[in-house]
Amino acid sequence: MEERWILFKVFRYNPKVDKFPHWDGFRVKVDRGTTVLDALLRIKEEDPTLAVRYSCRQSICGSCGMMINGKPRLACYTRVLSLGTDMVEVAPLKNFRIIKDLVVDFSDFFKKERSIYPFIIRSDAEEMMNPTGAYKQTEEELLKYLEFADCIECGCCYAACPTTATDPLYLGPQALNKAYRFIMDNRDEGAKLRLSVVDSDHGCWRCHFAASCSNVCPKGVDPAKAIQFLKGVIMREKVIGFKKEGTSLIKMPHCVQKEDQRSE
């Protein structure tokens, strides 16, 4: 088994104590299966004050995003030897406020996501409160937005985007991707509401198609494509109008809970 010693240069900063950040060096023995997250946990055994966020270690939760050798990646998804260098530089995700060491503050990020109403909006309130069936959606209608629904909200796209680097009010590729996903869903009726949020001073028009977001996305979500499609939808709405085929309800009486079966 091929084993090597790799030098890890880790960013350390505790805003409550330190005036300036500094870098600490650790030597870790890695083999061909070791991920950056494994190496960081071994470093944590040596120095327990290192702050790292991680959860599933299988690239589905989106917690361990960090700048590895200058590019935003998931630590659990990146094998150390695949980076090809003898020294690996680990820093917290760019464009987010640092809480401590490698842990950053996502509250702004989630506030922007909430501002574009990331849920299905429909007018038939009675059906939404007491469902009697399912909404019909064909395979073609599903494929229009399915790719953009795979987002795990890790923040790597937000760290890579050149516009978020200077503009703290920009919605960011993740929020715009989610807005497009809900606009193209044929079960949703809230397209006008979301388009008015997105078509603003710091909305989708501040994207200039640098495509760094799609370059770094670990789940193949492609926010750059979603944002260009979103601009196309806004333009089409002005010229020919944006009409969406709605959906119909498939009644499923065998699934509906009867009154007398509900336990008090």
Partner: protein, 135 residues
Amino acid sequence: MRKENRGGVFSWFDFRNYSLERFLYTMHRVSGIGLVIWIAIHTMQNAFPKLFPFMYGWEYTILLLLLSFHAANGMRLLITELGFLLGKTYRPVYPYKMGVIYGTQKKFTIVMLLIFFMIFLVMFYYLMLNMRVIT
């Protein structure tokens, strides 16, 4: 900026780790600003020819380079930002291809870069003709 850990303006020019489109974005910004400065200089040259003498030729070479790049990349941006020639949506299956930087959009980008070179060469030929470098 340090407290917020933002990249700042310097990250507009940091395209080492990313794809071709990031480099084209940087060049589009730089050529745009260069063209605005060029317009100002050209207006001053026409308004006060004694204060700002014409350097017949060499400033036009810079103009041609900036202009042909900005026009060709601008045409690419115009078409893709209206939602055309971006490729289809599909079910993402591992290993994930990195999105819109593969496929149809990339081929279109290469075609646009070739158009940029051709426009530049055609205009450069006429410029050299006028500067009497060639006859």
